[in-house]
Structures are given as C-alpha cells and as structure tokens.
Amino acid sequence: MNCNNYRKLIPDYEDGLLSDHKLANVDLHIRSCKECGEFARDVRNIATVLHDLPTAQTSRQFDGRLASRIAEIPARKRQILSDRMGWLLRNYAMRPALAMGAAAAITGGVFFWWHPITQTDASAAPDRVLVTHCVQQHRNYVGAQPLSDIAAQNLANQLDQTSLASSAVQMPGEGGF
C-alpha cells in the first residue's frame, strides 16, 4: 500500500474507526513516514479546532425539517447521499459545522426566494453611484456656462469623488452646483 492509500485511511484512523489490523498498519506507517505523519497531525488539529467551535443552535424544527427533506429524496439517491455523507455524519467533530452549513443554506434559500436576484443593468446599479454620476455631469455642464465658477464646481466634484471612494456619499447639501 502506498502513501495515497494510507492517507485515505488516516481520517478514520484519527476517529478510531479502523479495524485493529488496519489501525496497526496505519499507525506503523505514519510513525515511519514523515509526510503521512504530518498529514495525520493536520487532520487531528483540524478536528480539534472544529470541535472547539461553538455549537450552532438550531431551531426545534430543524431536525424535523432536515429529515423531511431527506425523506423527499428518492430512495436510491438517498442511499448514495447516505454513503457519501456517512463520513461526515459519523464524524462527531463535523456535526456542528454541518449543522451551521445546513442552517446557512436554508437561511440563504429563504432569503433569495424572498428577494429574487434580477438581471444586473444600470437600473439595478446602486442609486448612489448613478446619482453621483448625474450630479457630476450636471456640474461639468454648469461649469461650461457663462457666469459660473469653474474652480468651485471642480472643488465640489473633488469632494464628491473623495466621499464616494470612502463610501460616505456627500451630496451637495447646500444646493450649490
């Protein structure tokens, strides 16, 4: 067995899920192979960090909804999903992360169902950007008028550009253009 094969077994080795025979083989290998030993240490550290994460508090209905959703999947797909998810589900350290990810997915789904994303065009562009563009175009036009103050118009444009860059838009509050 080569290192690639051993590395596939290392997560189960860290979780104590291997048979005695395989466990002994993997243990012997990671003690003698520097790279696999480091890989095993990394897996162990990750599991520790995940274990220390705060547990997401799901609602009372979360488990029920998750079970219902799984029940809706055809049986064949369910088996495949179960097999592929088996490692994650069996891994106690991964459950909080899995719960948080599922909660985020459900929340995001509800949010985007409520606020559908529309096609991006100028109409969806932030009003602030469009309005600032119009104000600057207005000022540039006014600056080319007789009786106008070109220096003041330009200074006002400079201030607007600085404000927009700092995400604190300052529209001409005094009505001066």
Partner: protein
C-alpha cells in the same frame, strides 16, 4: 507682451474708459462686506474667513442706480471675458454641510480661448492640473495617476455667451448694482444677479474690475441666501507673457490611467435624443419663470443609455436625467429626495433624476410635472 487685436483695441479701451468714468461718478457707497485683501498686487494673502451670510455692512443700492446699469456691467464683463488675458493666484472657499473647504490655485486665462488651473493647496489637491486649450479639456491628478480628457469647456462657454447676454438684456435675470470694493488691489464694481426674488432664488455676485471688466471674484448664494462658494483672486497680472506650452496637454507618466469625465454627449434635439436612446423621453410640463430648454444629449452609463435634458435661464441650470429601469411601466410612481438639490422619480419604467439648485418647492413642481 500679448496685445489685444488691433481692431478691438480701440473699442475695448473706450468701453473701459466709459465704465471707469461711470463708476467714478457714482456716489460713494459704504464698504462692501467680504475679505479685505492686500493692496500690493504681489502680496500673498493668507486665507480669510468668508462670512456665511452676506455682510450687514452691504450698502443699499442708491436710489439713482438703475438696474440697466447693472446689466450693462454684466454685459461688459462677459465681453471682457472673451479678451482679457490674466494670470493670478486664486482662492476658492466651498461651504458644505456646515463646513468650509478651501483651495488655492494658480490661474492663467487667455480670454475665452484657453484656460489653465493648477492647484497648490490643500496638499491632497496640490499638483492637480486643469488645462483647456479651446479644443480639448484635460484634468490630471498626479496623486491618483489619472488623466481625464474631454471636450473643451471654454468653447462651450464661449458659444453660450450670446444667449446669456440676450437673457440679461431681456430682463430674464434680475441684476442689481451693490457698490464698490477692492480685489487683489484692483477697484471693482459689485453686481448681484438672480433669477427672481433674492430671498427665494439662488444668486451670484460678481466683482468686476472697473479698468477692463475682468471678473475678479464670484460669490454664489443658495436659495436661502446662504453662501455656497466664493472664488477670488489674491494677486492678478494682466497681459502676462504666456509660456509656449502653457496650454498643451499635461505630461504624464506611462502608467497614468486615462478616463473620461462624466460629460454629456453632443447637443441634440429631443427627437434626436429619443432616437438615440431608444425609449420615449419624458419632459416637464412646468418650468420656473425664465427657464428655457437648452439642449438634449445622450451618454452611456454602465451599458445603459442616459438622456440629459438641460433647461436654463442664463444663471441657473436644471438637468433632467432619464434612464430605463426594469420596473413595470404601470408601477406606481415613487418620488425620492436623496439630498437637497436632487430629486429621483421612478415612473413609467424610467428613472428620472432632476438636479438643480432652485428652492425645493420649485424643484418638486418641475419633477412631478414630468410626463
């Protein structure tokens, strides 16, 4: 030494002489409110506080002064702007949201043919250069390595002078002689111009050099009489020697980013703009007194067509921008006012943005009249 064309020299000198004699004949008035500047033309003047309200020491216009005289002064100022060549240090103060921002710049003007402005203060603007040679406009910012290039503004300004002079002559704008003052050591006549009742409409004051009609200071007031901005020369030299490359495009590093400033497109009629934009343009059915349609244009903004309709009375400009939205045409209209001077109306599948500096009630009347 740059001289005026011989054909205009005599008439120009005559106008200046008449202007000077007329001002000298006027009864003396009380001091004009505002900053006092050094008499010595070359003295560097530090920033002075600009009063937030017109000075209480302003003289009432003498009974003998006619509005026609103020209009004459303004017309002569506009004529002088076409010919006067000057170089000077200029200070600009901008009041916004209760705070003042000040800049200092070196200005070189060759009549209405070319213009150069270089910022020296504040530090973040220092080195910025604006050049207009009558054909193109460049604005270079070394700090951001950005160069904006666009059509000439002095040319557009020159093209609009006759219209403004007609509007002044016709009395569309109210002009009032305020009195006399000194700017950069030069005796000036002060004229105030507005588009209506001073208490309700934006206005401007011009300090006009009595010797040649050059504009040496301009103050802009809002609809509530608040001082919005003030630009005044602290030093001025007439007919300076202009360096050969004064109005050439600025030299920039290779990694300078080239950009176009937010500018409207070429002047069009409404029908032409509608054809280019590809959607039915809406227009206001109400305009404040004196305002006329000036021009339409179409530009691109984020791959969408942006129509701009301009209405002006010679002093103030209203810009109505229109762009299509994804909203249904039968959706109820929505009116928003993000800040003073800007109204946003969503109706008939369009987003309409009205920009101007008139009083709020007039702006509202205009925007809700758009059909």
């Amino acid at each position: 030494m740059l001289r005026n064309p011989s054909g205009r020299r005599n008439s120009y000198a005559a106008s200046a002489l008449i202007l000077a004699l007329t001002v000298a004949a006027l009864p003396p008035t009380a001091a004009i409110g505002g900053p006092r500047v050094a008499i010595h033309a070359k003295a560097k003047v530090k920033r002075v506080a600009i009063p937030s309200q017109p000075s209480a020491r302003l003289a009432r216009p003498p009974a003998a002064v006619q509005d026609n005289y103020a209009r004459t002064l303004l017309r002569q100022m506009l004529q002088a702007e076409q010919h006067v060549v000057l170089q000077g240090s200029q200070t600009t103060v901008l009041n916004r949201n209760g705070r003042s921002v000040t800049s200092e710049q070196q200005v070189l003007r060759n009549g209405s043919h070319a213009f150069r402005l270089e910022y020296t203060q504040p530090a973040r603007l220092a080195g910025q250069l604006i050049i207009d040679n009558g054909r193109a406009f460049w604005h270079y910012s070394p700090a951001s390595k950005r160069l904006e290039v666009g059509p000439s503004r002095v040319r557009r300004l020159r093209d609009r002078v006759p219209q403004v002079m007609r509007q002044i002559k016709q009395g569309v704008l109210a002009a009032r002689y305020i009195g006399r003052d000194t700017v950069a050591g030069r005796p000036c006549a002060v004229v105030e111009i507005s588009s209506g009742d001073l208490a309700k409409a934006p206005s401007r004051r011009f300090w006009i050099d009595v010797a040649n009609g050059a504009q040496l200071r301009i103050d802009e007031f809002g609809d509530r009489g608040q001082l919005i901005s003030s630009s005044y020369y602290t030093t001025v030299t007439y007919n300076p020697t202009i360096p050969k490359d004064a109005f050439k495009p600025p030299a920039t590093p290779k990694d300078t980013h080239l950009a176009s400033p937010p500018m409207s497109g070429p002047s069009l009629t409404v029908a032409q703009a509608q054809a280019q934009a590809g959607f039915a343009i809406q227009q206001p059915t109400y305009l404040p007194a004196g305002f006329q349609f000036q021009t339409a244009s179409v530009s691109d903004f984020q791959k969408q067509k942006l129509v701009a309709l301009r209405y002006a009375n010679g002093l103030n400009v209203l810009s109505l921008f229109e762009t299509k939205t994804g909203a249904r045409a039968d959706a109820p209209p929505r009116l928003l006012r993000p800040r003073r001077g800007v109204f946003v109306l969503a109706q008939s599948g369009l987003r309409l943005i009205l920009v101007g500096n008139l009083i709020q009630s007039e702006m509202e009347k205009v925007v809700i009249s758009v059909r």
